[in-house]
């Protein structure tokens, strides 16, 4: 599957078309589905019974897809080779872990030895949703980062492809935390299960939304597909 993607990426030029963006998102979504499938049928576990292992599986499947796919659309392709983009994506992963874990803890994620792995794996997955794609594409270009995350002014298809799913994951996770204090006594109210569900749901919705936003004709394309 990844090989197919690479071939498709090679044919395109830098300002990517909506169709290409659609396939990119489709593969990301399929990767997520694959991760859940592996967790369920090979390791016979799921997010509720063993959240850290499932999150780790999602990361193992999703992160390479994201890095390999997004590195193709690096903005500074004159100075930066494909391998270099992959490398900075890999560097972006731990940086994103720190940022996401800080955000989660400040917003009230529990601290303690028994939560360490859960928070770590959750932050890894979140990082591969928001920080890693931007790191692959923009590297250390402060201006682009600021445009996407401080101003939220995406400009062009590639910006939409990165910015909207990243925000979707964060906003989804934010809403996902709301059932946690309720006294329903369901197992999924534990950290980080419902937050992960929220993040994945938000990410998926935002991928569709980014296609709709990225081009006036995008709406048409998506509907036809």
């Amino acid at each position: 599957m990844e090989m197919e993607k690479k071939e498709m990426g090679c044919k395109s030029s830098t300002p990517i078309s909506v169709t290409e963006a659609f396939f990119l998102h489709l593969i990301c979504a399929l990767g997520l589905a694959l991760a859940f499938w592996i967790a369920r049928y090979i390791y016979s576990t799921d997010l509720i019974s063993d959240p850290s292992r499932t999150l780790f599986l999602i990361l193992v499947v999703e992160c390479p897809i994201v890095i390999l796919l997004y590195s193709r659309y690096r903005t500074d392709r004159h100075q930066c080779s494909y391998l270099k983009a992959v490398a900075r994506g890999l560097l972006g992963l731990p940086a994103g872990v720190i940022i996401n874990a800080f955000g989660a803890i400040v917003l009230g994620a529990p601290i303690g030895a028994q939560y360490f792995l859960k928070t770590l794996n959750w932050s890894l997955v979140m990082s591969s949703f928001n920080i890693v794609p931007s790191a692959c594409v923009f590297g250390s270009s402060w201006r682009d980062w600021q445009r996407l995350y401080a101003y939220t002014k995406p400009n062009g298809t590639i910006d939409h492809m990165i910015c909207i799913p990243a925000h979707g994951a964060i906003i989804g996770a934010w809403f996902g935390a709301w059932p946690m204090p309720l006294d329903w006594e369901r197992p999924w109210q534990e950290w980080p299960i419902c937050v992960s569900y929220g993040a994945i749901l938000g990410y998926s919705i935002a991928m569709v939304a980014s296609l709709v936003f990225s081009h006036p004709r995008g709406l048409h394309h998506v509907k036809r597909d």
Partner: protein, 971 residues
């Protein structure tokens, strides 16, 4: 100027809106909270006759001497009193679980072993034990009232718990005293306040030295042997407070608990051996051991959890009752059932407003006919109460003759149901009486009649208990309308001010989403709060919502700050620290806010459902860390931080030195108090500690009031030339707190800064004295949050809307309120601190102290508004000399006082509507009503805080304007 409000009109509108709010709130509160629908007067001999249409005033009865009245009652009732005298032993706060166990399981072994005598009485069947479910609020006075009158108390009784007044409704003690009983009381002086002049001998102890767990009970027990040897009393009340105090200081599992239970067991043994089993004594004595309420895991009470409502009821008589039906009868009863049971056992009329049901199993030794008669009396009494409460309930000796079977609705339905139940029991009873003589064994019939009576009684009891939620709708609607009107006025005023201030800056904004995310979110916070209040578990866990929202808001502010890294394209760490100081200050203050906020949230695991999870305060207490050291460090850091924030004004000003010195002295006094007294359990309430605390109150009070009054008078007035020369020093801007350099009113801003600082500092010191030791760090963290947000706001390079900043301060205050360990349950009010420095009981002073402790954080944030005004208004520079003073006041004071008022008004209305919608919810009395009481108290806190801020700023402005005018005349 036609559209904009003038200052005086604005003030007028605000005052009118506040008045509407207060009026609406009081109408709503008195309309919504149950005022007991009571029958007036006392039950007399008519209670032994069937209910009739017209009350027959038995005037002659009143003149009867006690012994004749007693024989009259006995003749009419047909039940001979089973006992001659009663010993009522109240053990405050003892959960029934400790004695009877829970769910068919015996209590844990250590507690079993602590009460060997009582347990042996229970095992032999001499004592009968019940779980008597107490109705919330589980605090002492309403529970005592419920026990002796059998009536469900109003919720507002809590509010009067510290202002106990005589119980005027019909009650057992009143009935006993009519019979000429001599009464003796030892223990909690609440009894003396409820029943002034009833007791022949009494020794009241006070319940407010909560840390005293030993003396308070010794003072009761020392009279016991004397009273038991005396033979003149018929009712002896012993009210032991020690166990409640043990709970308040150490929780349920306190190591003092078992010794305390052992002490109580000794008392039971002494009474049982000395009075009940005493063969010399001709009088038959009944010992009733009750507790008024239980306690939570932490030893608090007030709410409606099982742990708090599970109170004990033990009947200990001379002989074993265990013969008849030992196992059929459930031992779960209601606390209100005590009153009718005791009334029937002692042959007095059941109190008029009783809703309780005679406890099954205590009158087994009576003859069958008498048992049925007792149930009949209880049913008649409840029927009378029903007649009063259900409109159109038919009256008469057989009130339900008219009903055959036609279907009706609402009150008719209820009427019909009760009529049917009552008639069935009554008919069965009548037929039983008429055929009684011809029958020899009628046990089956009897149990059928008893079951029929109980069906009526229990249904009536439940309906009457629920009846308390019926509300007069017009009063409530009027109250809500008045509150909404006040909200409309507030919002109109705030809208006009915002319009006026920002009318020139409209064109700056581009794109609502990106620029105004923080503004939108601060409105969204209110919206979320309003929505979440509809869910009972969100009300219980409100602290999570506040923390989550304030952290998110801070993150959005961080995002906004990051937007200002854009100006230089070659951004590196080095340039950030040299040139971009402001951005760095902003970012670091936001990080401070975020991190301190997270620590504050972790400090107390508040709420209801997750209190068992670990938190920092539990960890500190369990790990054996030296709390005193932590407290001292926190207070010293608070003092240093405060002094540092004062020193940025410049050390040359004399006022600063004087004020700082004053503060340091008070701080040293507080430290001395902590070192000497607070961690010394042996002398918690010594005179020296009390007088030292009083000295601290006086010092703080005098220095605060003195500085507020004096600072505007002695603040040196700068001449405008000096001011303009200052303007050239642009470097002054780099200093975060360097203020007054650009303003026309530097002296106003200096004085406000000092006054605001004095408010904050004194309040923090007061809290270090009053709060629990572990909370001193919380005070420090909230202070850090305040200064961090001031730092953030003082970097005025963003087009930050002022109302957002005021709202952020308000939210920080509310988040801090929960970080101090408060919750929406009445159980978390810190009672222990409310008696520091009070030598003799005063409801007023301890109430004020309790309010100060509970609302420490919102009040602190409101008081900090004075300092905020001083930091913020650098650009109030009216060009003309004849500036309108009203304009300036409106600009600097309008938003800081209107925003908290408006937010609070929205929340108050939302809670009001939620409470109305939830009036039939299962948790209305346990969750929503306490929350509403908190909302009312928050309103009071906001009104007081805003009043102080507005008065202070106006005063300082007026004084300075007067002095300027005077100097100008003399130039």
């Amino acid at each position: 100027m036609s559209s904009s409000l003038t200052c005086s009109r604005l003030t007028l509108f605000t005052v009118a809106a506040i008045a509407f709010q207060i009026i609406g709130l009081s109408f709503f509160v008195f309309g919504f909270f149950p005022v007991k629908p009571a029958l007036s007067g006392d039950s007399g001999s008519e209670s032994f006759r069937a209910p009739t249409c017209y009350s027959m005033g038995n005037e002659s009865e009143r003149d009867l001497p006690p012994y004749e009245l007693q024989s009259l009652y006995q003749e009419l009732s047909g039940i001979p009193p089973l006992f001659d005298r009663l010993i009522l032993m109240v053990i405050d706060g003892l959960p029934a679980e400790f004695v009877l166990g829970k769910d068919e399981r015996p209590p844990i072994k250590a507690l079993m072993e602590a009460m060997p005598y009582t347990q042996s009485l229970l095992a032999n069947g001499i004592a009968k034990g019940y779980h008597a479910k107490a109705a919330p609020p589980t605090v002492t006075m309403p529970r005592l009232k419920a026990m002796v009158s059998g009536a469900i108390g109003g919720f507002l009784d809590v509010a009067f718990n510290f202002n106990t007044q005589a119980l005027l409704d019909d009650n057992l003690l009143g009935q006993f005293s009519k019979l000429g009983w001599k009464m003796v009381m030892c223990g909690d002086e609440t009894w003396l306040k409820l029943f002034p002049g009833f007791f022949m001998r009494h020794d009241g102890v006070s319940s407010f030295f909560v840390k005293d767990t030993v003396e308070v009970d010794k003072n009761v027990s020392r009279h016991l042997s004397y009273e038991l040897s005396k033979n003149d009393w018929s009712l002896l009340i012993l009210h032991y407070l020690g166990l409640d105090h043990v709970g308040h200081t150490g929780g349920r599992n306190s190591p003092l608990m078992a010794p305390k239970l052992m002490e109580m067991d000794e008392v039971v043994k002494m009474i049982h051996a000395g009075a009940i089993m005493n063969p010399d004594d001709k009088k038959r004595t009944l010992l009733v051991v009750v507790s008024d309420h239980g306690m939570t895991e932490n030893g608090n009470h007030g709410g409606s959890s099982y742990e708090e409502t599970d109170s004990l009821l033990l009947f200990i008589g001379p002989k074993s009752h265990a013969t008849d039906f030992p196992s059929i009868i459930s031992n779960d009863v209601n606390q209100v059932d005590i009153a009718p049971t005791l009334a029937l056992l002692f042959g007095v009329p059941i109190p008029k407003n009783n809703v309780g049901v005679m406890i099954p199993g205590v009158i087994d030794s009576l003859k069958d006919m008498q048992q049925l008669r007792a149930l009949q009396l209880n049913s008649w009494q409840l029927l009378r109460l029903l007649q009063k409460q259900v409109p159109g309930f038919p009256c008469g000796s057989f009130p339900c003759d008219g009903f055959s079977g036609d279907q009706g609705y609402n009150s008719v339905d209820i009427m019909e149901k009760f009529c049917r139940l009552f008639l069935r029991a009554a008919v069965l009873h009548d037929s039983w009486i008429s055929t009684e003589l011809s029958r020899s064994d009628s046990r089956e019939d009897k149990s059928g009649i008893i079951a029929a009576y109980y069906e009526f009684l229990i249904n009536a009891n439940q309906w009457l208990s629920h009846k308390a939620t019926d509300k007069p709708s017009t009063v409530i609607v009027f109250g809500v309308m008045s509150m909404i009107l006040s909200f409309l006025i507030f919002s109109t005023a705030i809208y006009s001010i915002i319009q006026e201030i920002y009318s020139g800056e409209k064109q700056l904004s581009n794109g609502i989403f990106t620029r105004h995310l923080d503004e939108g979110f601060s409105l969204y916070v209110i919206f979320i709060l309003v929505i979440s209040m509809g869910s009972s578990s969100m009300v219980e866990e409100e602290q999570y919502i506040w923390h989550y929202l304030i952290s998110t808001l801070n993150m959005l502010l961080l995002r906004k700050t990051v937007q200002f890294f854009e100006k230089e394209s070659t951004c590196s760490v080095l340039t950030l620290f040299s040139g971009r100081e402001r951005v760095c200050i902003r970012a670091s203050s936001i990080f401070t806010l975020l991190i301190t906020g997270r620590i504050l949230r972790g400090w107390h695991q508040g709420g209801v459902n997750w209190t068992h999870l670990p938190d920092i305060s539990k960890w500190l207490e369990q790990s054996g860390t030296d709390l005193q050291l932590i407290q001292l460090t926190a207070v010293i850091l608070t003092i240093i931080l405060s002094l540092f924030s004062l020193s940025v004004l410049g050390r040359r000003m004399k006022i600063v030195l004087v004020v700082g010195f004053n503060f340091l002295m008070s701080g040293l006094l507080v430290l001395y108090h902590i070192v000497k007294y607070q961690h010394n359990a042996s002398l918690p309430s010594s005179n020296a500690a009390i007088s030292l605390a009083q000295i601290i109150y006086a010092t703080l009070g005098v220095s605060t009031v003195g500085s507020v009054l004096a600072v505007p008078w002695i603040m040196p007035i700068q001449i405008s030339k000096a001011c303009s020369s200052h303007r050239n020093h642009k470097s002054a801007v780099s200093h975060p707190f360097k203020i007054g350099s650009q303003s026309q009113y530097p002296e106003l801003r200096y004085s406000l800064y000092i006054i605001g600082w004095v408010y904050i500092g004194s309040w923090c010191l007061l809290q270090s004295l009053l709060q629990q030791p572990v909370n001193s760090v919380v005070t420090l963290l909230i202070l850090m949050q305040i200064f961090a947000s001031f730092l953030f706001f003082s970097q005025g390079m963003l087009q930050q809307k002022q109302w957002v900043e005021v709202a952020v301060l308000y939210y920080i205050g509310m988040a801090g309120h929960f970080a101090l360990g408060n919750s929406n349950s009445l159980a978390t009010v810190d009672v222990a601190g409310a008696f520091i420095g009070i030598s003799n009981y005063s409801a007023l002073f301890s109430g004020i102290l309790m309010f100060i402790i509970t609302y420490a954080s919102p009040t602190l944030l409101l008081l900090s508004m004075v300092m905020y005004i001083s930091i913020k208004n650098q650009d109030i520079a009216p060009s003309s000399q004849n500036v309108d003073s009203g304009y300036v006041l409106k600009r600097i004071l309008g938003l800081p006082s209107l925003v908290p008022l408006t937010i609070n008004s929205i929340l108050l209305i939302a809670y009001t509507i939620v409470l109305i919608l939830m009036r039939n919810h299962l948790f209305v009395w346990s969750v929503f009503s306490p929350k509403y009481l908190y909302a009312c108290a928050t309103t009071v806190c906001i009104l007081i805080g805003v009043f102080i801020v507005a008065t202070t700023v106006t005063y300082a402005y007026m004084v300075l304007a007067l002095r300027k005018k005077y100097e100008r005349l003399h130039e």
